[in-house]
């Protein structure tokens, strides 16, 4: 009997070890970080800076002369290190998929074409083993986005630490995701396995169904107690009220123009383009209409054979210089999002702008686009203390080693499954 109990205990012990680390407890004590280079997220840099936060909120930030109350505070000297705001991953499937080939772990795509009513919010799995690995590259905020259909559903924004989705969520149902039918459609050739791209013949029909759907939704939104109740139409309400974003997935210039004009026609105030490969061709239009663009990963191939080999890398800076608000996402990916900081690195390498400007594509700009810039996105007094400490340049593999992370001032456990396996086998081989 004793043996059995022992066995059980051992099992429990093992299991505990295989679990994700516990979410951080709320900040109990004031923290002051000193000596580091602070990358504010809005384009500014503070050398040998000081940042103090208490109860999750930044209370002071500035140069070495900044006065802060250090009584009862935990003061951490970070000389030679770098402080960054938490990186924000827009447009992802973080928390709603785990292992791509195992259907049971996929929760991002519903049946049907028009699903504004399905919500990433409630499927977001805080216990995903992927999420802790992302924190180690600086991803402290993630937008989880439903995929598929024409209207995929509504997204929500989460802190990448939390006991459950209610605990983790920063902004619920921040926007509805619409896939604009591409001007050019792709079809697969079974003979030579190539892809043919030609004018999308079904496009007009699809847009016609959008017209009807949005017209019906707008009419529905005007009625206080509509009957019969229609969940799909009801979910669209926030778009017309201006409380939610309409995210439109569009890459071709013509699609971008058309989608924005479409949204304007229905009085939708907040339109965001996601994808935007050809956004540069309509940059003036986007600027004039104050439409932001969430670009996909830069680490992809140029779209056309004749494109400049570096065209994709050069796009964010060019768009930014043209006056368009730019964010960079890592497409609809999940584990790969840990490479998001490097997208801004590439944007810097191939653009005429500073790495601080590129950093804003991952911090302040996405926060503004999603309407969470009052809380996060840059390191400013009064905002949440969601920030990290890196050994070097976060945007470069050579420097991206995250040593501390705080979400709302709470100190995050940076352990993850991969680090545990590393440790386990280092011990096996006696490496150090």
């Amino acid at each position: 009997m004793k043996k059995i109990i022992f066995g059980l205990l051992a099992l429990c012990g093992l299991q505990a070890q295989a679990q994700n680390p516990a979410p951080a407890l709320p900040q109990a004590k004031s923290i002051v970080l000193t000596g580091a280079t602070i990358h504010v997220g809005n384009g500014q840099v503070i050398a040998n800076g000081v940042v103090a936060f208490d109860k999750g909120i930044i209370t002071a930030i500035g140069g070495p002369a900044t006065t802060v109350d250090r009584t009862n505070a935990e003061v951490i000297d970070l000389s030679g290190k770098h402080i960054f705001p938490g990186i924000i991953a827009m447009g992802s499937t973080i928390g709603i998929q785990e292992i791509a080939s195992v259907r049971a772990t996929l929760d991002f795509e519903e049946i049907g074409d028009m699903n504004p009513h399905v919500r990433a919010l409630i499927a977001y799995n805080t216990d995903s083993e992927v999420i802790p690995t992302l924190r180690s590259s600086g991803i402290l905020l993630a937008q989880a986005v439903p995929q598929g259909g024409f209207i995929s559903g509504s997204s929500s924004v989460f802190n990448t630490d939390g006991w459950n989705w209610e605990d983790a969520v920063l902004k619920k149902d921040d926007g509805i995701w619409l896939s604009w039918p591409a001007y050019l459609s792709r079809s697969f050739n079974y003979d030579d396995y190539s892809i043919t791209v030609k004018k999308n013949e079904k496009r007009a029909d699809i847009i016609a169904t959008f017209e009807t759907f949005f017209a019906d939704a707008k009419a529905y939104a005007d009625v206080e107690n509509p009957s019969p109740v229609n969940l799909r139409l009801a979910a669209m309400k926030g778009l017309f009220a201006g409380t939610q974003n309409l995210y439109v997935r569009a890459d071709y210039a013509k699609d971008i123009l058309e989608a924005v004009k479409f949204a304007q026609k229905f009085g939708i105030k907040k339109v965001v383009i996601s994808g935007g490969s050809e956004a540069l061709k309509v940059a003036d239009f986007l600027k004039e209409n104050q439409v932001s663009v969430v670009l996909g990963a830069l680490h992809r191939l140029p779209g056309r054979q004749d494109d400049d080999v570096y065209a994709v890398y050069e796009l964010p800076a060019k768009l930014h210089k043209a006056g368009v608000k730019v964010a960079i996402s890592y497409d609809d990916e999940w584990w790969r999002v840990r490479n998001l900081p490097f997208q801004a690195g590439s944007a810097t390498a191939f653009g005429t702008m500073t790495s601080e400007e590129a950093l804003a594509f991952l911090t302040l700009n996405p926060a503004q686009i999603m309407g969470i810039d009052a809380q996060v996105g840059s390191l400013e007094k009064g905002k949440q203390a969601t920030l990290l400490v890196s050994k070097g340049d976060l945007l470069d593999m050579r420097g991206n080693v995250v040593e501390h992370a705080f979400i709302k001032g709470a100190k995050i456990n940076l352990d993850d499954k991969q680090k545990r396996l590393y440790q386990k086998y280092k011990e096996k081989y006696g490496q150090e």
């Binding site: 050019l184 043919t196 004749d306 570096y310 490097f342 945007l395 050579r398 490496q431």
Partner: protein, 1008 residues
């Protein structure tokens, strides 16, 4: 007695024509006729070199009896005066399916279908449905009067026909297009052998790829040889028996593009066959390489339609390569002629056969001489089909196959009047039709005088009645010989038709008729003046004047000239040597004759050297990607568990833009691997990224590797329930696949050793050459090395144990994401690892993959490289290497080796590649920043001292490309405005291969 002699002569003369019919009973009286005709006063084009003005052609019994300036015309000859007309030999079509049964290709369904492992063909034939040497066009042939009339109308008299189906297609037959029964028109039954790499209607799963087709065809040659040398005593195989019979015939090989020609010629070289290769019409883009094969070609006259670029949105779909091809393709035949490549022209691929002439005239406008053009449609095809004794020119003794035309065969207004085949007349246009074209005074009694204008082509005149400037009437007209009818409505508003009949008298027309009210009315049309010929000069202007230049390869970012090795001195750079010296500052590196010749301080530049300032820059080796699938036309041959016989070198795509993109990321060498769909995949091709060179010049043949695979892909775990046919379905089965194949390979190798040791080989039968077992035996004999796709520790361990038990080593595990769990075992086996920096979570077997893998393995003593398996990742492998610093704290110097020296070691190329050392290949990259940094990109990437990527030149190239694009678009717009037929633009994106891709059904996220 005299009569008897005559009959005998007649019989002999009819040898081909009527002997076939001798055995047939006649219904009614015999109707044999000598068919003796003389054509006099014609311009007789005997062959491309010989033209007789006012010549005579004498034919009898379907053959040419005499041709010359003065021919004695025997009595009993019907003489036809062809004053002003021309006689040409008729055309021979070499690539025809005339009279063949329609080949219905079953549309490959959407989605995967269950595998068919065996042939469904009934009978004692070979194992594969695509190998059908037993097929005979002569047996399948049925004349088709509708099709033959269409071909005759356009000038063809004979055709070499074969069923266009399968890889070995059996024999072709030469038939004439005379309107006669099969027995009369079939000239030669077993005339030719036909091949392709297209499996056609075969429903069998193998081969499922281009390299599989090559392997299958090669194996068929070897099997046939074995069969002839004794195999026939062991098995009955009607296919192999037939194969041996057709091997000596003129062999035709159908391909679709320039690389296909090179591929076919390579196969021919292996088996001593000079194929006559049907091309795709784009060989002008690789003319030197095509010429070097020594192959003869059958060239289609299909030119791309003008891209419709009127809508600027649409225009973006069109690549510069497509625009340039459209611009330059009509010059293809001229380019071939200039290069001295023997070629025939075919109408295959043209929906409308009349376009053949339009396009041939275009080819002539683009520089093809008329003599060459005539040769390519008459004499050359006859020679290719070994039918010169009967066809191709108007020489005495040949078949009386000829055309009577109004003029020069190639002029736009030429009319083919008659097409004589085997001495039988087929009228295309009335030879005696008078030329009525001109202006006439037209008067009908009771109507106002008008003028009649007859314009248009001689065989298609257009009629117009002109009353005054505003009233013009088009009458309904029919002409038959010298008789004419006209009917018209004089006043559009009032119904009522004037109906006239008449005839030609001298140059005038006259006759009778009645007005709309029935009043009889006589009429006359008095000839006033002849038609003024329209000039065609304007049309010529658009063609050849401003032709673009060739590019190598033929894509927008190709080179105008192929880069060549230079003497280069790089001054004052930070040099990552990968040698004991480590990273050295302020160092010069001299490159000469494609090699690194010297490293040092303040080196002097030899005369003519290009000096590059490396101050503040980093000079390294070119990156070597151990696991790549770029520059390939196919990646998986997944029809069987082992496809060791297939070679990636057969499907290298030297025109892939990703080669250039990767040069721009510092890559110089890539191992192009087979996919991971089966346990034993195909043989790799290791290439250098020499952008512009053809496949053979990219290949490093000394690197002999083969892809193996383990885990979910080979057991088909993620392909749905349909993939439950092929063995193995578990990791248990995978092990047995290896044992089974290696044991067979060992037995095979032993049997060859035994045979080779025999003193008297004459009495023994050689073992059957087996390409699959050849490759596996090479592994056992340590001449070929394994790169094995692998994920979890159990299977990694398993393969090492299999190898140990058979006394060989696994060379490299690729992916190897759980290698860290058995790194100690790997180190002691001596296997290397080529892995991803940080991939995981895309399937079950990578759920424990960690980015610290490379570091853990390296520290255990395993040679580790970081690879891409992805066209995108490969262009920033320097960054992937940097991740081993980020995760696992590898030193930067060692991290850099993981994409240079270590893969060179894994490929056994480290004596040539992988470090900056005097004597090694000058495959170098000059980086503008620390090479492991996200901020780095190459200033220069060179291979063997030739600069293949130059950042500044690339910027200029972009500008030039944009310019050329806009010029071509303008040209296309004016071509459309000029009435050219257009095609809606369609972009074509070649597949980006990863090793799991079977048929494009990989899910979005399953990568690798």
């Amino acid at each position: 007695m005299r009569k008897l002699v005559w009959t005998l002569v007649g019989l002999l003369a009819f040898s081909t024509l009527s002997m076939a019919q001798q055995t047939f009973p006649r219904n009614g009286a015999y109707d044999e006729r000598p068919g003796r005709y003389a054509f006099i006063n014609a311009t007789v084009v005997v062959d491309p070199q010989t033209t007789l003005e006012k010549g005579t052609l004498l034919i009898e019994n379907g053959k040419i009896v005499e041709v010359g300036p003065s021919v004695r015309i025997p009595k009993g000859t019907f003489t036809i005066d062809l004053q002003g007309k021309f006689i040409y030999p008729s055309l021979l079509e070499l690539d025809s399916d005339y009279g063949m049964p329609e080949t219905k290709s079953e549309a490959r369904g959407r989605g995967r279908s269950a595998q068919q492992m065996e042939s469904s063909k009934k009978g004692a034939f070979g194992w594969n449905q695509a190998i059908q040497p037993e097929m005979q066009a002569a047996i399948l042939f049925t004349p088709d009067t509708k099709k033959s009339a269409d071909l005759r109308k356009n000038g063809w008299g004979t055709a070499l026909v074969h069923p266009h189906d399968g890889i070995v297609r059996g024999t072709g037959a030469v038939v004439t297009l005379a309107d006669e029964p099969a027995n009369a028109v079939l000239l030669r039954a077993q005339a030719s052998a036909h091949f392709s790499l297209d499996k056609g209607t075969s429903t069998q799963t193998y081969p499922g790829s281009l390299m599989g087709s090559v392997a299958l065809l090669r194996q068929a040659y070897y099997d046939a040889e074995w069969f002839a040398k004794g195999g026939k005593a062991i098995e009955t195989n009607l296919s192999l028996e037939a194969f041996n019979q057709i091997k000596s015939l003129p062999s035709f090989f159908e391909t679709t593009d320039k690389l296909g020609i090179l591929r076919a010629a390579d196969i021919g070289k292996e088996f001593g066959v000079k194929y006559i290769i049907k091309s795709g019409g784009d060989e002008f883009q690789r003319i030197e390489e095509v010429k070097a094969t020594g192959a003869s070609l059958i060239v289609p006259l299909v030119f791309p339609a003008t891209p419709d670029v009127e809508d600027p949105w649409d225009a973006e779909l069109v690549t510069v390569a497509e625009l340039k091809r459209w611009e330059m393709a009509p010059g293809n035949p001229a380019a071939l002629a200039k290069a001295g490549i023997p070629f025939a022209l075919t109408s295959q691929g043209l929906k409308n056969k009349a376009d053949f002439w339009t396009n041939l005239r275009k080819a002539i406008d683009y520089g093809l001489s008329k003599e060459k053009a005539l040769e390519a449609i008459t004499l050359t095809p006859a020679r290719f089909a070994a039918m010169e004794d009967q066809l191709g020119s108007l020489k005495k003794g040949k078949l009386a196959n000829f055309l009577i035309t109004s003029g020069d065969l190639f002029s736009a207004d030429n009319i083919i009047y008659e097409n004589w085949i085997q001495g039988k007349k087929h009228v295309v246009n009335d030879l005696n039709a008078p030329d009525l074209r001109g202006t006439y005074d037209f008067s009908v009694k009771g109507l106002s005088p008008m003028s009649l204008k007859i314009t248009g082509k001689l065989n298609k005149p257009e009629y117009q009645l002109i009353l005054n400037d505003t009233i013009k009437i088009t009458p309904k007209t029919s002409v038959s010989g010298e008789l004419i009818t006209l009917s018209f409505q004089p006043d559009k508003k009032t119904p009522g038709t004037v109906r006239l009949t008449g005839w030609l008298k001298g140059k005038n027309l006259l006759g009778e008729g009645e007005l709309s009210d029935g009043t009889p009315a006589s009429w006359t049309a008095t000839f006033k003046e002849a038609l003024v010929a329209e000039t065609t000069a304007a049309k010529k202007a658009e063609t050849t004047s401003e032709m673009g230049t060739l590019l190598f390869p033929f894509v927008g970012l190709g080179n105008e000239t192929k880069p060549v090795s230079e003497t280069i001195l790089i001054k004052n750079a930070t040099v990552w040597t990968n040698e004991a010296e480590g990273i050295v500052q302020n160092t010069d590196v001299l490159v000469q004759n494609g090699k690194i010749s010297k490293l040092g301080k303040s080196l002097a530049a030899p005369g003519g050297a290009r000096v590059i300032d490396g101050t503040g820059k980093h000079l390294t080796n070119g990156i070597i990607d151990e696991h790549s699938h770029i520059a390939l036309l196919a990646v998986n041959e997944s029809a069987q568990s082992s496809t060791a016989e297939v070679r990636m070198s057969d499907v290298i795509n030297s025109e892939d833009i990703n080669i250039y993109r990767q040069l721009a990321g510092g890559v110089t060498t890539s191992q192009l691997l087979h996919g991971s769909a089966n346990s034993i995949g195909g043989q790799s091709a290791v290439i250098k990224l020499k952008w512009g060179e053809a496949p053979a010049n990219l290949l490093m043949p000394e690197a002999k590797y083969i892809k193996f695979a383990l885990g979910e892909n080979v057991k088909q775990s993620n392909w749905g329930d349909i993939a439950r046919v092929r063995f193995p379905q578990t990791r248990m089965g995978v092990e047995q696949v290896f044992f089974d194949h290696f044991i067979r390979a060992k037995e095979y190798s032993d049997s060859w050793k035994a045979y080779n040791a025999l003193k008297n080989k004459a009495t023994a039968t050689a073992p059957r050459r087996d390409l699959e077992l050849d490759a596996l035996a090479e592994i056992l004999n340590k001449e070929r090395f394994i790169t094995c796709h692998s994920y979890v520790q159990s299977e990694i361990n398993m393969l090492m144990k299999v190898a140990d038990s058979l006394n060989f080593k696994v060379n490299t595990f690729t992916h190897i994401l759980e290698g860290y769990k058995v790194a100690d075992k790997m180190a002691s086996h001596g296997v290397g690892a080529s892995t991803f920096a940080d991939w995981w979570a895309y399937k079950m077997e990578v759920k424990e993959a960690i980015p610290y893998n490379a570091a853990l393995m390296a520290r255990e003593g395993v040679v580790v490289s970081i690879n891409s398996d992805d066209a995108e990742m490969a262009r920033r492998l320097n960054q992937e290497a940097a991740k081993t610093v980020q995760f696992g704290g590898i030193s930067e110097e060692d991290a850099w080796k993981m994409v240079t020296l270590n893969p060179a070691k894994l490929l056994h190329l480290d004596s040539r590649l992988g470090s900056v050392k005097a004597g090694k290949d000058a495959d170098l990259v000059l980086w503008n920043n620390h090479p492991l940094s996200i901020y780095a990109r190459p200033d220069f990437t060179m291979i063997e001292g030739a600069i293949y990527f130059d950042y500044e030149a690339d910027q200029k190239k972009q500008e030039k490309l944009a310019q050329e694009r806009s010029q071509l678009i303008q040209k296309a717009l004016s071509s459309k405005a000029g009435g050219a037929s257009t095609a809606r633009p369609e972009g074509r994106i070649p597949r980006m291969w990863h090793c799991e891709d079977m048929s494009g059904f990989d899910s979005v996220h399953s990568h690798d």
